[in-house]
């Protein structure tokens, strides 16, 4: 059977950077092809060429037996190619339904047919098992829910080819499972899917074919059953990655953080203690209250009742400024809008929280010593950048994440809260972040790790807390924790 869509010898350069080198890819009806590769391998560029967002320098694209060339995204959509983008391209001020039908609102005599929009939106949200009212303002939804809306929008285009660029990154296991079920339906309808994910297990369970990009070359293409995960990683990184989750045993010190009956928006009467030199993991479904708990401890959300003690002393924290002053660092799950100033340099982002370190009594910043520190951190965190002057927006997700962590660590916090630290980060960079976490732990830092990536949480944490509906529903030591036990607690009370 001929391929539904075929890319042949695709070339693409940006300036002097050769991003795609004679790349071939086939997408077949009723099959999903998993596209794997490290960040910067060229996956997103290839998909943007497919979707008409970038034009190719050379090569052919054959779709339904015809050679096509899209010069803008609209043409690709009209031809039946839909993309679920990695970055959410939704407008927070509009309703869910308005976002779903933006630019293609059904009209009669120029009047928008709202009933039709709402009912169709409801249909696709139901299909994705999302209890979301189509009239809800999008910005009030969690990131995971927004991602599901993005998926619903792509599905509603009734496309023949659906590109999913890391759709599960912002999702918990339950929502990801819903997506996999929908993928099965789509394949049964004869549609072709390209699925990009950093979670390799997902590629193995939900894709029939695998294509692997490395440094702009397609280094492997074939059926999923002919490949092991080990071989896949080998192809991706071009080297052996021995241990995906390096763990070093904790030298646990005294109690660093004691939270007593904390209640706040999204959290109810949560009590726990965390020790210095410990990684305390937080598991739970999206909306379970993990991020809210983290933000309340840090001071970004208001504490309604309860108390927090650090090193045995009660603290009052009602703003991020006080949180930082009390030795808390918070690395947000949302790098783009909460973590880093995208249009500013790596260096200025890194030192923004800890600027006081380089400032004289008169408010003057010592730029020499600042630069020395920036270069130290770039080296220590192995951040791949041309230097501290490079703009953050030009860095890959993994390197941005390292800058974000460096920014919090530079203040020398006693407690470091990491909220989804490896979201959108490739395998190699993930491992570097884990190594970094271990190093900080060894230095006696108390680390709270919020993650929806279960193998990561099990692999890195010393202890794991589970939250459901804003309440603590389970606590496990590293030895007793299993995926099943955690899941059981995570769905408790659902």
């Amino acid at each position: 059977m001929p391929a539904l869509l075929q890319l042949k010898n695709i070339e693409k350069s940006f300036g002097t950077v050769h991003v795609l080198k004679s790349v071939n890819l086939e997408i077949h009806r009723g099959r999903a092809v998993g596209l794997a590769g490290e960040n910067g391998a060229g996956k997103s560029t290839l998909m943007k060429i497919l979707a008409g967002i970038y034009s190719r320098d050379a090569g052919q694209m054959i779709y339904n037996g015809e050679t096509v060339k899209f010069t803008n995204a609209r043409q690709a959509i009209d031809a039946g190619i839909a993309v679920i983008h990695q970055e959410l391209n939704l407008l927070p001020e509009l309703s869910v339904a308005e976002n779903m039908f933006l630019g293609r609102e059904p009209t009669k005599l120029g009047k928008i047919q709202w009933q039709e929009i709402y009912s169709k939106t409801q249909f696709w949200l139901d299909k994705l098992k999302q209890k979301i009212d189509p009239t809800t303002r999008l910005g009030t939804l969690s990131i995971a829910q927004q991602q599901m809306v993005e998926i619903a929008r792509a599905l509603s285009l009734n496309a023949q080819v659906i590109v999913m660029d890391e759709p599960t990154d912002a999702l918990t296991d339950i929502e990801a499972q819903i997506l996999f079920d929908v993928m099965k339906d789509l394949k049964a309808e004869g549609k072709g899917i390209v699925f990009i994910s950093h979670r390799l297990a997902e590629i193995f369970t939900s894709c029939e074919d695998i294509a692997i990009l490395r440094d702009g070359h397609m280094v492997h293409q074939g059926h999923t059953e002919d490949l092991t995960e080990h071989e896949l990683i080998h192809h991706m990184v071009g080297r052996e990655l021995t241990d995906q989750y390096p763990y070093t045993a904790a030298q646990t010190g005294p109690v660093r953080l004691a939270v007593k009956e904390l209640s706040a928006k999204g959290c109810q009467e949560i009590s726990f203690t965390a020790y210095s030199g410990e990684v305390l993991g937080f598991s739970g479904l999206v909306g379970a209250g993990r991020t809210e708990l983290a933000k309340t401890i840090f001071g970004a959300n208001a504490l309604q009742s309860g108390s927090i003690e650090i090193d045995g002393k009660p603290v009052q924290i009602s703003s991020p400024r006080q949180g930082i002053a009390n030795g808390i660092g918070y690395v947000t799950e949302d790098r783009k809008s909460e973590g880093l100033i995208q249009i500013h340099s790596v260096g200025t982002n890194m030192t923004l929280a800890g600027l006081a370190r380089f400032t004289s009594a008169l408010g003057m910043v010592n730029r020499q010593s600042e630069e020395v520190t920036i270069n130290e951190f770039i080296k220590a965190f192995s951040i791949k950048t041309q230097g501290g002057e490079s703009l953050v927006q030009n860095l890959s997700g993994g390197n941005q994440q390292k800058v974000s962590i460096a920014k919090s660590v530079l203040v020398e916090p006693r407690i470091l809260i990491l909220d989804e630290p490896t979201r959108g980060v490739d395998v190699g960079a993930k491992r570097e972040i884990y190594t970094l976490i271990n190093k900080l732990k060894a230095e006696g830092m108390c680390i709270l790790l919020v993650s929806s990536d279960m193998p990561e949480l099990l692999g890195i944490s010393d202890r794991i807390m589970v939250l459901a509906n804003g309440k603590l529903t389970g606590e496990f030591s590293r030895d007793e924790a299993t995926q099943e036990k955690i899941m059981h607690c995570a769905v408790a009370g659902q």
């Binding site: 970004a300 991020p320 880093l340 249009i343 200025t348 923004l352 910043v365």
Partner: protein
Amino acid sequence: MNIKQAAIDNKSLIGLIILMAVVSVINANFLGVDNLLNILRQTSINAVIAMGMTFVIITSGIDLSVGSILAFAGAICASLIGLDTPLTLAVIATLLVGAALGATSGVVIAYAGVQPFIATLVAMTMIRGATLVYTGGRPISTGMHEVADRFYDFGAGYTLGLPNPVVVAILVLLICWFVLTHTKLGRYVYAIGGNENVARLTGVNVRAVKITVYAISGTLAALAGIILTARLGSAQPTAGTGYELDAIAAVVLGGTSLMGGRGRIFGTIIGALIIGVLNNALNIMDVSSYYQMIAKGAVILLAVVVDSRGKSNE
């Protein structure tokens, strides 16, 4: 590659040089020392206001009240000097009035969450009204005594061969450059404009910084009012009308983004000089002041379009 980058980084400067080259070909008198000093003197008032505006715009705000603050401060300064107040005291008191007026807008913006455009529009109207009430709609003379003479001499005088208003503008430039590039406050100004949410979560005291930038803008508007009053020997109640637009134009011509987070104080000076050269050129070419407004608008539009095209190609 480096030359190209340097050209992109200094677009405004290149624009200014081209403009001056064109004008000097059309009119041989343009490049005379007297005329050039005249341009600098005329530009200094807008430049001082625009430098304060640069702080505000980098935080992604806007300050429409600067023209009104200029008039109010000028009136206060003229009265104080009319009352034979020591010169230094009169100047400091006037600057404090400007700072307080600016800070008030800052408080409204930071604490009441009012949009900067609206908050400073209100301030612009109210302060203009207050100026008219205070002056009764009539100019206030600095009077005829020793302090007033010294004040007038300052406005008309020279230091190291440069008109005093130009010297003041250069000092302000050096201070603003230092604050923006070498102090914590400067970093926070850029950070807030770059992403306010990130700045807050990074522990930046966003409210305090916002109040500070509007206070700086108010202070420099008041300083411009003092310079203008010194040059004229009296304060006009309608002085500074429309100056906010020239200041914003200078900032934008200088490459500072209205979206915030980016901008350079030297760019603002170049922007102010472009407007100054343009005004001067149209004057010495005897273009009617009605046409001048159209020509000025067209040049600003052209510059901004060129600038935004450059950005979208990046």
